[in-house]
Symmetry: C2
């Protein structure tokens, strides 16, 4: 199973000596938790942060609010865990490219895989970037830079700069990374937004092909010896 | 006054022989209409399409629902007029670049101005591209291609291709336009999204500077003789 398709939260690890009934209970608990998270993402994405409540969420999936509170202390805890899981899944999808030794080939592969992630997980992608929500509080668990897609991209860009592969105007890691990110983020967002349905004269091209050509074009523009 | 900052709906034109009281009434009507539209955009953007209702909108701005219905037959009519106005305003901001005769310089200018529009009108930009909403019905007034930003971009790209300025791989107007649009759309969207607040290691660069460098990079990659 590809890592981006794994369940969004792994079942809690249980001691090897756990009883069968304990094991079953743990599995049920993990399944309930996953169900709540999926329903919450859908509600947050469709109706926005303000309109999502633990009670309405409970109604949607046929649980009592008490059951939901048993798993998550409040709406923000739920939201935070969702974001964390989604950003980790995206990071995981990009981390796979680390096995490509050439930083330029790696940058291209990451760009194309970013768009693939968005197309394969439209709900998550919309939720991560297209829903307004409060930032996590100081006590919330936050994503670790070591799991973050942007950090993987920056590593590849840093390597390309250090190896002298990029032209003079492309020595700022942040600015180069933000151009590369912006490019594939824009392609993904345009394809997930429905705004262009109102503009029938826009013939959207295949987003994967567009992403490939776009990444090649940027690298052509940035490389000292394309 | 720059065209993108004009009120989103011009007051209705009145005959020159109109009485002063008629003139005043028309002005008041236009002002009310503009107020309703602004409040509706805010509510649609913040709370989503499903949660916005004519009644709640009326409550927010202190009118009766009847007053709102007097101006707009239903929620969808309101939504449609908002979208139309916003896409027209964006088109207008880009149409200005038509005075730049060189298509490549025009493409660059359009790209940078797209990001400027998003930064100056964050509410509109979010509403246009980041809110899920139903597509307009068959009887709704729709934006005219002659007012649409994408069409202006396509015209410039077509000119660049016809003049033989772009490399062999860049002869498809749609694909080239979608790369250019995607680039600046991504930069704008990243800057308007708050997702990166959760990733304090991302040092966002000035979006206008990023947009300029990004457009230059793409043109460097696409041009036969950069």
């Amino acid at each position: 199973m590809s890592p981006v398709r794994r369940p969004l939260r792994a079942p809690r690890r249980v001691e090897s000596g756990a009883s069968p009934s304990r094991l079953r209970r743990d599995r049920e608990k993990a399944a309930t938790r996953a169900l709540i998270l999926e329903a919450a993402r859908e509600m947050f994405t469709r109706e926005g942060y303000a309109e999502t409540s633990m009670r309405r969420l409970a109604d949607t999936i046929g649980y009592t609010a008490t059951t939901i509170y048993h798993h998550f202390k409040d709406k923000d805890a739920l939201l935070n865990e969702l974001c964390l899981n989604d950003f980790r899944a995206l990071g995981e999808a990009l981390r796979h490219m680390e096995q490509v030794p050439d930083p330029v080939a790696r940058i291209r592969a990451m760009g194309v895989n970013y768009v693939r992630f968005a197309l394969e997980h439209p709900q998550q992608f919309r939720f991560m970037f297209m829903v307004e929500r409060p930032v996590p509080g100081p006590n919330d668990v936050k994503i670790d830079p070591a799991e973050d897609g942007y950090v993987f991209l920056k590593t590849a860009v840093t390597e390309a700069i250090s190896a002298g592969l990029l032209k003079e105007g492309y020595q700022d890691v942040e600015s180069v990374s933000q151009i590369l990110w912006g490019m594939v983020h824009g392609i993904a967002t345009i394809h997930l937004s429905k705004g262009h349905d109102e503009h029938p004269w826009i013939e959207l091209r295949d987003p994967m092909a567009t992403a490939r050509l776009a990444c090649d074009t940027l690298m052509q523009g940035m490389l000292r010896n394309p």
